[in-house]
């Protein structure tokens, strides 16, 4: 009998150990922690469902949940539409098109903190690029204080996230577009389809698996907002742009309430998980696998 070779497992070991130590075990510990009161410096104390009860009874939690949903409602369609539009735009054979593809992708690989600092200046009330343009070019007399306005703060954060990740979404859509057989478009044109009809009835259905994939990852990304929020608004004004992920950070590393933060994190996980499952169920209604 031949013994199974050990070599592949040895090569896998560093990755597996890293995954266990830095991901799987902390995820497990954090699940346990969500049922405790734990300030880190003292041993955790069993609290049963107290953290979850406190969460459900807290007006702040529901507000944060509302902000998170609103953010997802802006971010997911926003990044998908703009990403798709960019992909259609750069899906041509023009001179220097790779330059534009690279240009649109650039924000995605730029440090989020640097991005946020630049945008902070753009949105600055008195000295910002945006408001000075609104005043000087468009003659608007009293533009909003974007990051200090309870209505505009969250959309401003969403705009920066969309700007930042549209290039990545573009790349995914571009790959999908390029895998579509050109002869199908030629056939549609022969049948008298306009450019829009060809896009709507040929391109989109064939692209639907990519659309589905992009939707799932955008939804997950939308639940992980931290850096830009931290650098732009710190969740303000008065909590107007505090999302669940930011609230987890505040509770864990500013207030040192690891138990409560873990409960928030698992609630976020359950929500995103449920939505993803729901999407997989609804998939057969609109996703066409060629």
């Amino acid at each position: 009998m031949r013994r199974a070779p050990i070599t592949p497992y040895l090569f896998l070991a560093p990755m597996v150990v890293g995954l266990l130590v830095f991901r799987v075990i902390p995820i497990g510990v954090s699940f346990f922690a969500s049922f405790t009161h734990w300030n880190v410096i003292a041993p955790p104390q069993w609290a049963g469902l107290a953290n979850y009860r406190e969460m459900l009874g807290s007006a702040d939690f529901w507000r944060v949940l509302g902000n998170t949903s609103l953010f997802a409602a802006m971010y997911v369609p926003g990044v998908m539409i703009i990403g798709l539009a960019l992909a259609v735009l750069v899906n041509r054979k023009l001179r220097g098109i790779t330059f534009f593809r690279g240009l649109f992708f650039m924000p995605y690989i730029t440090s989020l903190v640097a991005v946020a600092l630049a945008w902070r200046w753009v949105f600055s009330t008195r000295f910002g690029l945006l408001n000075n343009a609104l005043i000087e070019v468009f003659g608007i007399t009293n533009p909003p204080a974007w990051l200090s306005d309870p209505i505009w703060a969250l959309p401003s954060v969403a705009i920066v996230y969309i700007w930042q990740s549209a290039g990545f979404v573009m790349l995914l859509f571009l790959a999908g577009l390029q895998s579509i057989d050109r002869t199908l478009h030629d056939a549609a044109r022969l049948d008298g389809a306009t450019a829009w009809q060809s896009f709507r009835y040929v391109t989109l259905p064939l692209l639907s698996p990519v659309v589905f994939f992009v939707m799932i990852i955008s939804l997950i990304t939308s639940s992980q907002t931290f850096e830009v929020t931290y650098a732009l608004t710190r969740g303000g004004p008065n909590g107007a742009s505090t999302t669940l992920a930011y609230s987890v950070f505040q509770n864990a590393f500013v207030f040192y309430r690891m138990g409560y933060a873990s409960a928030l994190a698992y609630t976020l996980f359950a929500l995103v998980g449920t939505l993803t499952l729901l999407n997989f169920t609804l998939r057969r209604r609109w996703v066409h696998y060629g």
């Binding site: 300030n39 880190v40 410096i41 003292a42 041993p43 902070r120 200046w121 949105f123 600055s124 009330t125 008195r126 000295f127 910002g128 204080a145 974007w146 990051l147 200090s148 306005d149 309870p150 931290y230 608004t233 710190r234 969740g235 303000g236 004004p237 008065n238 909590g239 742009s241 505090t242 950070f249 505040q250 590393f253 500013v254 207030f255 040192y256």
Partner: protein
């Protein structure tokens, strides 16, 4: 071959024995602090200490505050605290309450405290901030002052702020200093700048004899004097228009508003002397003054607001005598005044009250104003859960800070905001003080 192995083994054994012998004479002390930018300075001090104390090795590590506290918390949880480490007013109560700090009182008793600014020592004492035992020893302190733009005062023909300035005189000056040259309703220079930050609000409260907390320090219960102060400061923006709204200053670092010349006066901690020097440069002359005393303050109720940075000893250290010796070295009058540049005051008066500390060759030209705070009785509002109910750091958009900003921005009245932050604050405090 065997001979080579044997001699190698012998060498290894010899090394181990030698190391063992040396270890018996060596005391190793682990020391953690939170300003990596001061590493060079700390290393110089440590080298001096080690040179004076043969056999003692100090292993030093520094992390920025954002990493320092998570790291220290993890070490505390693991029972692996360094022998000596920095402690702040904001965290000490929780650490002391969890038995993570050695009681230093037996050592302090042998010390002549008349050399120190004991008025700032309150947060280091437990259980009572006046009479309790000391669980950490202050290295330096800072306090809030009124920064003022001397050029702007000269241009408006005003006298510089004096120690007995009243709130009315302050308001009159702020009005005269608010300049809207193009008449667009947005001043090019405001008289003052403030938002809901603790270091900008509490100084007015304490200088009016007010308190935010109940006497036991377990619930938010602002006194009428505190409410009067909150109303005065928020009205500077809302009623008098002598200060910008936080919304208007959005996008500018809050500590840059004064040094950029956008506001002629500003109240914040004296550590901002350093940033103001850097940003303002030679653009204008500026000075500092005491925060004006409120109309309701009496000598009995008025308090200075100071924060101390302390050195604490792990209760598990194997070398308490040596650690205390090191703490004394770090807080002695022998320390060089230049170690405490800018608005940071050494807790030892000998170092603080030296000409070198006054830095007469730099702005502000009257740093002795800060020292006055150390001579007054002090108070703070630190509790467990403070960063949450007050709204601090990455959470400063919430809590009392977030609510007060709603007042400054004109979206809530002070009464509405106060009801909200007292209610929220007490829900936080109830968790810690049932």
């Amino acid at each position: 071959m065997n001979r080579i192995i044997a001699s190698g083994l012998a060498a290894a054994v010899g090394c181990t024995l030698a190391a063992g012998a040396a270890a018996q004479e060596t005391i190793e002390i682990d020391y953690f602090f939170w300003s990596p930018d001061r590493m060079e300075l700390e290393q110089r001090l440590i080298d001096a200490y080690m040179a004076a104390n043969p056999g003692v090795t100090i292993n030093v590590q520094a992390q920025p505050p954002s990493d320092y506290w998570p790291r220290m918390s993890a070490l505390a949880a693991a029972g692996d605290l360094p022998d000596v480490f920095y402690m702040s007013s904001g965290f000490i109560e929780e650490w002391q309450g969890n038995g993570l700090l050695a009681n230093l009182q037996p050592y302090v008793d042998q010390l002549d405290l008349s050399d120190y600014y004991t008025g700032t020592f309150g947060p280091a004492r437990f259980p009572d901030s006046d009479t309790g035992d000391m669980y950490a020893f202050p290295v330096n302190w800072v306090g809030p002052v009124l920064f003022y733009n001397q050029d702007a005062f000269d241009a408006a023909g005003l006298d510089y702020p004096s120690d007995d300035w009243t709130w009315d005189e302050f308001l009159a000056a702020a009005q005269a200093l608010t300049v809207d040259e193009n008449g667009d309703g947005r001043a090019e220079q405001y008289g003052f700048w403030a938002y809901g930050r603790y270091a900008q609000i509490e100084p007015w409260v304490y200088r009016n004899g007010g308190r935010l907390l109940n006497p036991a320090g377990t619930r938010l219960d602002p006194t009428p004097e505190a409410v009067e102060a909150l109303r005065f400061v928020t009205d500077l923006t809302r009623e008098h228009g002598v200060a910008p709204t936080p919304a208007e200053m959005e996008g500018i670092r809050q500590q840059d508003v004064f040094p950029m010349g956008l506001a002629a006066m500003w109240v914040d901690g004296s550590w901002n002397v350093a940033n103001t020097r850097t940003v303002a440069g030679d653009d204008f002359n500026w000075g500092i003054a005491l925060v004006p005393q409120g109309p309701s303050a009496t000598p009995d109720t008025m308090r200075a607001y100071t924060w101390i940075d302390m050195l604490a000893m792990s209760p598990d250290t194997e070398h308490p005598e040596q650690v205390w010796d090191f703490i004394q070295f770090m807080t002695s009058g022998e320390r060089d005044a230049t170690d405490f540049a800018g608005g940071m005051v050494p807790s030892n008066r000998v170092t603080a009250e030296s000409d070198a500390w006054l830095e007469r060759d730099q702005q502000p030209g009257n740093k002795e104003v800060i020292l006055q705070l150390g001579a007054m009785p002090g108070t703070t509002s630190f509790t467990q859960g403070w960063s949450e109910w007050r709204g601090y750091g990455p959470a400063d958009s919430g809590g009392m800070n977030g609510e007060l900003d709603e007042v400054f921005n004109g979206r809530k009245t002070l009464d509405e905001a106060m009801a909200a932050f007292v209610d929220f604050g007490n829900s936080v405090l109830t968790r810690y003080y049932p």
